[in-house]
């Protein structure tokens, strides 16, 4: 698993294209670059250059420990949020049923 995480790196262009494939998330691919710069500045990702056969060297992005920690935090917060919403929806459901 750790090996998988270590190898999970992508270069800018492929990362941007991957993200733009998530329906409804991105309307302007160009705005992803400043976002990646912020992640770098906040030290959630790190970058390195690697030679490419098809052109100039590419910048690769990789998670840092802080980045993984941020994801863990988010996952935990999200679970709480989702459970809260589910509960509210459940209450809404029961209210609807009792009203009819």
């Amino acid at each position: 698993m750790l090996a998988l995480l270590r190898d999970a790196e992508q270069y800018g262009f492929e990362l941007v294209r991957s993200l733009s494939e998530v329906d409804g998330l991105v309307t302007s691919e160009g705005t992803i670059y400043p976002l990646l710069t912020r992640l770098r500045r906040d030290q959630l990702v790190t970058t390195f250059w690697r030679e490419s056969k098809s052109g100039p060297p590419r910048r690769y992005y990789q998670l840092t420990d802080a980045g993984r920690a941020a994801l863990t935090d988010f996952t935990r917060d999200w679970a709480r949020f989702r459970d809260g919403v589910d509960m509210l929806l459940g209450m809404e459901d029961r209210h609807d049923h009792s009203a009819h």
């Binding site: 998988l4 992508q10 800018g12 998330l25 302007s28 976002l35 098809s54 980045g67 999200w78």
Partner: protein, 124 residues
């Protein structure tokens, strides 16, 4: 540098981006333009025949220079608030965590993007 920059559409786009980016610190401005230039090169390398349609599509997908510069200007000096990571940031981090970014990750994240709103989220 490749000859792709001599394409007038690309040159014009990069010129407009550079002009819009004048509000950014010089180093940030140069870096952003370089990144976008590199993106255009890479995109056109992978599309096959480089005709006007291909160029226009790449630039269209990139989006308006103003939007890109706006995104670069967000929170430049401010530290991120605790727990306030935007949806797009999370998606980007997830994409790096999971080597196979495909329909599985995508469908989970569509759900996230629809129910999670934050001022930090991109242009979606």
């Amino acid at each position: 540098m490749t000859t792709l920059h001599t394409d007038p559409l690309v040159a014009d786009y990069l010129r407009r981006l550079d002009a819009a980016a004048a509000v950014l610190p010089p180093q940030r401005r140069a870096e952003l333009v370089a990144e976008i230039r590199e993106h255009v090169d890479e995109a056109l390398r992978s599309t096959g025949p480089v005709d006007e349609v291909a160029v226009r599509n790449v630039l269209e997908r990139l989006g308006p220079p103003d939007e890109i510069v706006d995104a670069a200007g967000d929170r430049t000096g401010l530290p991120p608030e605790r727990g306030r990571v935007g949806v797009l940031e999370v998606v980007a981090l997830l994409a790096l965590l999971i080597p196979i970014v495909g329909w599985l990750v995508g469908s989970v994240l569509v759900l996230l993007s629809r129910t999670w709103t934050s001022p930090g989220a991109g242009s979606a």
